[in-house]
């Protein structure tokens, strides 16, 4: 685990005393009729992250990528930012061709095909969870992007 600055003992002592009689328990309610698992984000989150990082790795703006794919810049923006947006199959196909990515796997990420593969889902969501909006990819992001693309390409 990373060693980082954290509140000191005095902070913990004060917070513990202030909340001594409070309940902290977090989790599903008992006797619950509805599904007792929080809904996970869709795979489109990973699709958006992949497109954003791949675009930035080629040092392209949203507008430049849209032009190369012959789609509207607004569609690229929606793909990158809105997990509820479902890209058109033609756009997904253009993205796959432009970034040299396997179309079948990309269709799953984009929500245009069903994936029941837990490992695929876990890797995709974990990948999506680790990126930020810096204009230049960090070494870590480059490594992560390359690793995830390798994983997509090596899928049987």
């Amino acid at each position: 685990m990373t060693i980082r600055n954290r509140p000191d003992r005095q902070w913990y002592a004060r917070m513990i005393q202030d909340t001594l009689d409070d309940d902290f328990v977090i989790g599903p309610a008992p006797f619950s009729a509805s599904k007792a698992e929080a809904t996970e984000p869709p795979l489109t989150v990973a699709f958006g992250t992949l497109v954003r990082l791949a675009r930035r790795s080629k040092k392209l703006t949203v507008e430049q990528l849209a032009e190369k794919l012959s789609v509207d810049a607004e569609e690229i923006q929606q793909i990158e930012r809105d997990p509820s947006y479902h890209a058109r199959p033609r756009t997904i196909s253009n993205i796959a061709r432009f970034f040299d990515l396997p179309l079948t796997e990309l269709m799953k990420l984009a929500g245009a095909a069903v994936s029941n593969d837990d490992v695929f889902r876990t890797k995709a969501l974990k990948f999506a969870a680790h990126s930020d909006d810096m204009s230049i990819l960090t070494d870590e992001e480059q490594t992560m992007l390359r690793g995830f693309i390798r994983f997509l390409r090596e899928k049987p």
Binding site: N5, P7, Y12, V25, S34, A129
Partner: protein
């Protein structure tokens, strides 16, 4: 190292936080947490009083969560992380977090955040379950760790969680999390999120300039 408040000696005691639930913690749960909880549930059932209200009243909401099964099924999944807090040779608290959720709060919409899935404290620490609870601070240490992990992951302290009814005032009023109302997809429990600003305020509260490592 961190610390817990011993309510009986009225002193802080050193505690250790592990960034993974180990087999020893699961064993502790099965051998020491579950029996007294199950005994109380059996007692309630025998008295015909086993219902949502009494389970909440006795602080037994987590008895049905199946920590050992979750420990098994989530161990190899990268999206999950877990924590165990130990003190005086026993597991005092357990937590599961998830790293792939996105914010729902309009001001943070779709930003990465850390989702706190489960937090429990040992039954002997629960004021409503036992007349002389032992340690205080288990929940505070674990939830603080979730905020710090969120910062470590680059999520800027963004944390989301569904609170059980007894804990709502804590998360809203004392920790200052934003309440987004009942979540119909999660038993109608209230859903809360912490913003980066609030996380920074909270962690800066009373922190020395140098900080420290626990």
């Amino acid at each position: 190292m961190t610390q817990l408040w011993n309510r009986q000696s009225q002193l802080f005691e050193p505690a250790e936080l592990f960034d993974r639930i180990h087999a020893a913690d699961v064993t502790c749960f099965q051998n020491h947490w579950l029996p007294p909880m199950q005994a109380k549930i059996d007692e309630l059932k025998l008295a015909g009083q086993y219902n949502r209200q009494t389970v909440s009243q006795w602080n037994l909401e987590d008895a049905h969560w199946g920590w050992p099964a979750k420990f098994q099924s989530r161990a190899g999944q990268l999206q999950w992380a877990s924590y165990a807090l130990r003190c005086s040779g026993m597991t005092q608290g357990l937590m599961f977090i998830n790293l792939v959720y996105r914010c729902r709060l309009p001001s943070q919409l779709n930003q990465h955040m850390l989702y706190v899935d489960l937090v429990s404290t040992a039954p002997w620490n629960r004021p409503r379950f036992t007349p002389n609870p032992l340690y205080g601070g288990v929940g505070m240490v674990l939830v603080t760790e979730a905020i710090l992990r969120s910062e470590d992951e680059g999520f800027d302290g963004r944390v989301g969680l569904h609170s059980l009814p007894g804990a709502e005032t804590l998360y809203r009023d004392k920790l200052g999390m934003d309440c987004l109302g009942p979540d119909p997809a999660y038993s109608g429990l209230l859903y809360f999120e912490m913003t980066p600003q609030r996380a920074a305020q909270l962690l800066a509260l009373l922190t020395s300039k140098t900080g420290g490592t626990v």
